[in-house]
């Protein structure tokens, strides 16, 4: 974690500031993202997000993570681990929405 923090912070500074304030994610797209979370993120994190080769994605784990940092981790991955960048499949707005869902706690 410590070795990727600087790059995360750097990326955070380049973050488009108003991403979160844009129009909400349409329900159809929300369902697609949750399906992706369950079946594709789920192949490493478990379909119930309770962990696997990758760690659990439960709200208790994210207490110290801001939504922004979590969204950036989703988009850029975690170098040195099997976590890939999901930027090709999720917009920043969608990643922020998903990060918010994960912080709240979600059972896909």
């Amino acid at each position: 974690m410590t070795r990727i923090l600087p790059s995360l912070l750097a990326a955070l500074m380049c973050w488009t500031t108003n991403a979160a304030s844009e129009a909400p994610i349409p329900p159809q797209r929300q369902a697609e993202i949750i399906y992706l979370l369950k079946h594709d993120c789920g192949s490493c994190h478990g379909m119930r997000l309770e962990g696997g080769l990758g760690p659990a994605l439960t709200p208790d784990r994210f207490q110290l993570w801001s939504t922004q940092v979590l969204a950036l981790t989703i988009l850029t991955g975690r170098p040195g681990t099997p976590m890939p960048p999901w930027r090709p499949f999720l917009s920043e707005r969608e990643a922020l929405w998903l990060a918010g869902q994960l912080k709240q706690g979600i059972r896909p």
Binding site: K38, G42, S43, G46, M47, E50, G51, L53, P82, P84
Partner: protein, 403 residues
């Protein structure tokens, strides 16, 4: 008074009749067990529903649906040597023994917090489970699932033990397993089940994530996510220790992000060549077994997940990682050319050949169906409904090392 006594007697009689009816009913359920062989049967995991279906590959029919199996993300199964019982390993640490002739759960226990598959011993008497959390291997008696041995993995922090991966059975009533966080391979000798003998090999390479044993039971090969190459242990000569093979493959090339880890279990051996998924590349590698030199690299549609040989070794079938997981490609092992690209549908997750290879059964998650293909003309010949199907496991696995 009499009326009261009569009332009590009536109630007792009523209860007894109800009980007898219930008993008869449960006997009838058991009486539905099939009287037949299991050689052409199998199961498909319905991972989201926590259920499985028992398949008849001759009649192309679903025989039973078995529910209540817990979290089946990444579930896998092995079979008892008589081919009657499937042992299912669930993500939630569930170990379930299913009778595929009766379509019911014989026994189920939650043996760990988070698991990643298991194996059955050469003599069929022991079932081993590989656990992520708490990291280690637990070994149970195959008949009654009583615990025989609990083998904790090496700790990598004060309170956490390494995840275990790539657990397989090996000849000589042994199991082999690798440790993800501490970069080890272990051989566990179970000849004296009460006192497992463990041989530990350290520094096998960066981030071992899965492993396989060659069908002859000689080589235990561990995939490394954190570096190029694979770690190979010759089980005929464990004293020589593990060595890295294919270490120069892909050196210095930028790897693509990996959205689904390739599986090694289905590593295809055709003749003396092995076909395996490249990690982070749209390629299938062809390797000479024994020298472990790369003979060829076959460009394919996406990052391969399963690379499986038809049992006669004439064809290789490949499926792919997200976002290319709607496709299957068939490779001719003589010309190394792709003879057909199939589009079964989104979430084409797993495939299993019938024991002699005339058909392949394929899970297509997003269509909620299992598709059956004729492997000679590569045509779709049948579909069966299944709820978000993932792994397919046929009973013929009972008789193969490493499956």
């Amino acid at each position: 008074m009499n009326r009261v006594v009569n009332g009590v007697v009536n109630e007792v009689a009523y209860r007894m009749i109800t009980l007898t009816c219930l008993l008869l009913l449960s006997l009838t359920v058991n009486a539905e067990c099939l009287v037949r062989g299991t050689g052409d049967l199998g199961i498909v995991v319905e991972r989201a529903a926590g259920s499985l279906k028992v398949l008849d590959t001759t009649a192309h029919k679903v025989l039973f649906r078995v529910e209540g199996l817990g979290d089946l993300s990444h579930a896998s199964a092995v079979y008892s040597r008589d081919g009657r019982y499937a042992y299912l390993f669930g993500r939630d640490g569930g170990l379930t023994k299913v009778d595929i002739l009766c379509g019911n759960i014989v026994q189920r226990l939650v043996q760990g917090g988070n698991s990643i598959g298991g194996a059955i011993s050469q003599d069929g008497k022991l079932v081993a489970v590989s656990n992520y959390d708490p990291g280690g291997v637990k070994i149970f008696r195959a008949d009654d699932l009583s615990l025989v041995s609990d083998i904790p993995a090496t700790p990598f922090t004060e309170d956490r033990r390494s995840k275990t991966v790539g657990l397989v059975d090996a000849p000589g009533n042994r199991f082999a397993v690798s440790l993800y966080d501490t970069e080890e391979s272990w051989i566990i000798d179970m000849n004296d089940p009460a006192n497992p003998e463990i041989q530990r090999f350290t520094d096998i390479g960066r981030l071992p994530y899965d492993a396989l044993i060659t069908p002859d039971g000689r080589y235990y090969i561990t995939g490394l996510f954190g570096q190029d190459g694979l770690s190979l242990l010759d089980l005929w000569h464990p004293e020589k220790g593990p060595r890295t093979i294919l270490e120069n493959y892909g050196k210095g090339q930028e790897k693509l992000p990996v959205y689904k880890m390739p599986h090694l279990e289905g590593w295809a051996i055709a003749g003396n060549r092995a076909f395996l998924p490249a990690v982070g590349r749209h390629e299938v590698l062809v390797v000479r077994q024994g020298t472990w030199k790369i003979l060829d690299q076959i460009p394919v549609h996406g990052q391969p997940v399963f690379v499986m040989a038809r049992p006669d070794g004439r064809q290789i079938w490949v499926n792919f990682a997200f976002p290319n997981n709607d496709t299957i490609q068939v490779i001719d092992t003589e010309t190394l050319e792709i003879t057909k690209t199939l589009k079964p549908g989104g979430g084409t997750l797993h495939m299993e050949f019938t024991p002699r290879g005339e058909e392949v059964w394929i899970s297509v998650r997003d269509k909620d169906e299992v598709q059956v293909y004729d492997t000679q003309n590569l045509e779709l010949i049948h579909r069966l409904p299944a709820d978000k199907p993932s792994g397919i496991f046929f009973s013929a696995r009972a008789h193969h090392t490493g499956l």
